[in-house]
Symmetry: C4
Subunit: 213 residues, 4 copies
């Protein structure tokens, strides 16, 4: 975008800038949401002699932080990979993208809930909120990609169909996986968070990223 | 900007960099203000067994979050669309832009007020503060655009007059709409917030974005 | 920077990328510091019926917010204007730039002090801290520019000497003005903050920005 | 990235965009983590007449702030310097980069611990947490660079071997230095923080930055 000067290149207003516009704002929100996660950590009111123990007892916070941070990072990488296949962005995609960012930017709150309540009374509700956010995010992300790719609506001409199909295949397991994590939370909230961590750390990097290669 | 090297391209200092300079800082503020909204959410001191209920009772927070997030997102999209019609930025536009960002960056505070007080004693004052911020923002945004577009002061040569007029038409209802929301708050603070949400979710995307197409 | 590919354009590593690298990080810190200012606002524990009054009583917060936001905005605009005259950045400039950002990123704290203590016991110390931060910032900013411009050390060849001198002239009053604000605080902390606001709102935009034009 | 349009330049999807993608997200996280450090400062509940003293007593906060800010700044500068030698990024580098950002974005928390506990009961545990974060960060950063540079895996063709070796030499002392700081904390937590500050302020700028020149 930065170097596109529509007033000079076009008679009207630049059409293609759409995807860059999309990326600049999305980049910002992804990076900020990931970095704000650190604000969940707190040892407020912990007396000095107990600090060491308190820092060890914070392990649910570390787990929640790593899970959410890696998930946002992987979503961010995949987001760029998808946007690169698009020749343009239209109004609907822009709005779907806003909805996606709305769920990503919300993540620090349920992450904090997990950090505060895991292994304590209320942990199930905290993890439900956490998992539901991921399910919602996965649904919106799927709709976002399906809108762009259906009938190659926004896909660039030279992008091979195999690339588009590979991305779609990579998107398929997202919602079922996070729905499974939600189900697991009924039996064990901790296991559910560990599963969500594993999805971010193992599944997503290997499957969704550069799926075709 | 990133790739503009005035020291090489020009005898003096680059004139055109103005709009990119404007965009880089604006992008940052829009993305950060939207993402900071999540900090309004709090279940501090809620005991575990009550967490589920507390999360449901937070619905005014969810409503305020979605309303402010979508509004910032739509303002951001329109901002880029407007800036793309401009061939350059001058000192006055830069300062008006700072005022616009000052109101956008302020939004997380009244959003928090709505989240805390809606459906409780004090809700009217909270929503007044929220709506007043939107009215102010709409006024500054209008002045910003009118300054740039009056007599095509900063508009690029090849941008057709119809594009400029379409944007101006899209700006017209902004102040009246938010003033209406403020009036509605006299009777029902909740209805006022719902109206503000509707403006962000329905009116703005369809009317202001790419108004001409 | 984004589009510079040193591995292809150069035998070694890109020299010129320096100024873009400088700008990208600086842009981020300026925008975030300005937007974090909103976190100073708080009506914690204010009962509903008192909210209206409490929001009016927050006026020192509004004043401090506007003052700091506009100051950061103007510094940011001038920063880019200066960097555009530079053909390259060296190690020392990079480090001076880090020191400048360190003071800018610190600003939300003394801003919060002014917001909390102005018109109350302790206001003098709060405003001293605020003004001292501005004095420090002005000193570092001056050193930063003088390092770059002395003997045209980092200035691009085609940038006319008149541009460089105009910027230097615009930098001259910075330290004395903020030192004056600090002195005024001895007699009236409120007057000192108003003076700092006036510097950001009136003096800087007219004098420092595009000083030559 | 911003100006790369894979749909047009390539048959498939752009390979090289990898490094820019890496930089955009990394830039964001570095700048935000550095700026969030200011949130550690607090004089909550300090009565007006004691404010002056309280601000002086905050010196561990100032020390921790400056140390972390400068360290992030220097890491950021070196990060760009390294990425510029790379012709492309692959999946593994991307994931290692996420891990690096995860440790950088975590830094505001141990920084806050040092600010709160230094010179008080619990200071040793706080500084252990702080130093351990730096050790981890240095390890991940080393792995990141060694992965990219081993056998010139991701290094651009025209980048001379001497540049690569110079960077590797600059990376070598990182882990030992931070491990030393951790050891020093056993005897004196304050000396350990001062050493970490010195590493950021003196060693890194002179040695790691532009190591070859």
């Amino acid at each position: 975008m930065r170097s596109v000067r529509p007033a000079r290149d076009d008679a009207g207003v630049d059409d293609d800038a759409g995807t860059t516009r999309l990326e600049a704002f999305s980049d910002g929100v992804f990076a900020i949401a990931a970095t704000l996660l650190v604000l969940e950590f707190s040892v407020k009111g912990v007396p000095g002699p107990r600090l060491g123990h308190a820092l060890v007892d914070l392990w649910p916070s570390y787990l929640a932080y790593a899970t959410s941070f890696l998930t946002i990072g992987v979503i961010w990488i995949n987001h760029h990979y998808c946007v690169q296949t698009m020749a343009r962005a239209d109004r609907t995609l822009m709005f779907l993208n806003l909805l996606l960012l709305l769920t990503v930017a919300f993540l620090p709150f349920p992450t904090k809930l997990v950090a505060q309540y895991l292994q304590q009374s209320g942990e199930r509700d905290a993890v439900y909120a956490y998992d539901l956010t991921f399910v919602l995010m996965a649904i919106v992300y799927n709709v976002w990609w399906r809108y762009a790719s259906a009938g190659r609506r926004l896909i660039g001409e030279r992008v091979p169909e195999s690339s588009v199909r590979a991305i779609t295949r990579a998107f398929n397991p997202g919602v079922p996986m996070y729905a499974t994590a939600l189900l697991v939370a009924v039996f064990s909230p901790l296991a559910s968070v560990v599963l969500t961590f594993a999805i971010a750390a193992f599944y997503l990097p290997s499957a969704a990223l550069f799926a075709e290669r």
